[in-house]
Symmetry: C2
Subunit: 205 residues, 2 copies
DNA sequence: TATATTTTTGAACGACAATTCAAAAAAATG
DNA sequence: CATTTTTTTGAATTGTCGTTCAAAAATATA
């Protein structure tokens, strides 16, 4: 009885270590060009052992991607909720997102200019899960903006479109950071994103 | 002599047919899950014949992607250049881009939420080519916006950042269209993109 | 420590698909 | 039409992994 709880803890630690190594390798090379042997060797197990923890390669990959992305969105939302006021929240949203991008560039590059994955059950359900995570996140942004509209701070535009626009403005800085090897951190774009999102580009006199 | 010109024309037609079929299939399933046999059968050749036209599978894929994307950007720029005035140009840019998205959803989905490709020479040089095409296109948008700044129509913000922001606002509608199965055409978002890009979301009184 | 149980191992298997190439078919030539 | 040249064919080759499983190692038990 006492044993089984320790066993389980150790099992989970081994599983976590495999996921951690797998993340590094998948982030670098994608899905198809990674072999189970590589992951096994990086995490100090034999190929066979991986099947103790995951059903197979696809399951390992989808688990890794799904858990990591959920964690990212949750972190961003947690930061955002920790401040008060719509404008502060928008600023924090942008900032924490860009910070994540800077720290997890390799992982996120899995989602940029890549190649479609198979139509296997595992991959289809991963895709659905990702869409769900994305939508949940956009809904969070949408509610944030609705608050600003209700407070009379923001124009009364379609909130969903606004939320997606903001999300993709952030994304545009991320993509630039990932594709080009610019020196300046993506976080340096925070002010610009705020500005263009809030004021647009047209000149008023 | 007379012959060889016809031969070449027919060779190119056969090559084009293969590319056309390959585009359909790759667009649907990505790279790894497509077999040479599939492409061969779809284009009415045997597997061996494909190697008459392309060095191999990667070469076939990179050629297809590269030619198609160049064509898309060129079309968008051609439309944009055909109208006068910065605001009209911006509108046409958005519109023609969204129209391409609507008509080539499958192809473009190759670049959304997918998986990294191999580090083979062919794939690395495809990647570089895509980055180059993307940058050329953003530079085109940048010059367009610079015109607006010089004319005193747009705020004097960093033009490169503005160009990327605009490109990704367009992209945000495309991604939404591709991920969700919304009924409304992406083109219906043109007005919103124009508005948010030009005026931002903040309320003025 | 001896025995039972759990976990790990990695060689062997099997499926799959890119590529090749000798033979066949088609086209050009005279 | 006979012969040469070009093009196409698709079965055979080849290499690559994902996965399995019987044996070995490690761990728990008494």
């Amino acid at each position: 009885m006492e044993r089984s709880v320790r066993k389980e803890r150790e099992f989970n630690m081994r599983r976590a270590e495999i996921l951690k190594q797998a993340e590094k390798i998948f982030a670098l090379k994608g899905f198809h060009d990674v072999t189970m042997a590589e992951i096994a060797s990086a995490s100090g197990f034999s190929t066979g052992s991986l099947y103790q923890f995951f059903e197979g390669k696809e399951n390992l990959y989808t688990t890794m991607v799904s858990e990591k992305l959920d964690w990212m969105f949750a972190e961003v939302r947690k930061s955002t909720e920790s401040v008060e006021g719509t404008l502060n929240k928008i600023e924090t949203l942008i900032d924490s997102h860009l910070q994540f991008v800077e720290k997890n560039t390799d992982f996120l590059s899995l989602f940029v200019r890549g190649e479609k994955v198979a139509f296997s059950d595992a991959m289809i359900s991963l895709r659905q899960k990702l869409i769900y995570s994305y939508q949940t996140h956009v809904t969070f942004i949408e509610n944030l903006l609705k608050g600003g509209i209700e407070a009379g701070l923001l124009r009364d535009l379609p909130s969903r479109d606004m939320a997606e626009a903001l999300f993709h403005l952030i994304r545009s800085s991320s993509v630039r950071w990932m594709l080009m090897s610019t020196k300046e951190s993506p976080c340096s774009k925070k002010g610009f994103i705020m500005d263009i999102f809030l004021h647009g580009v047209k000149k008023y006199d």
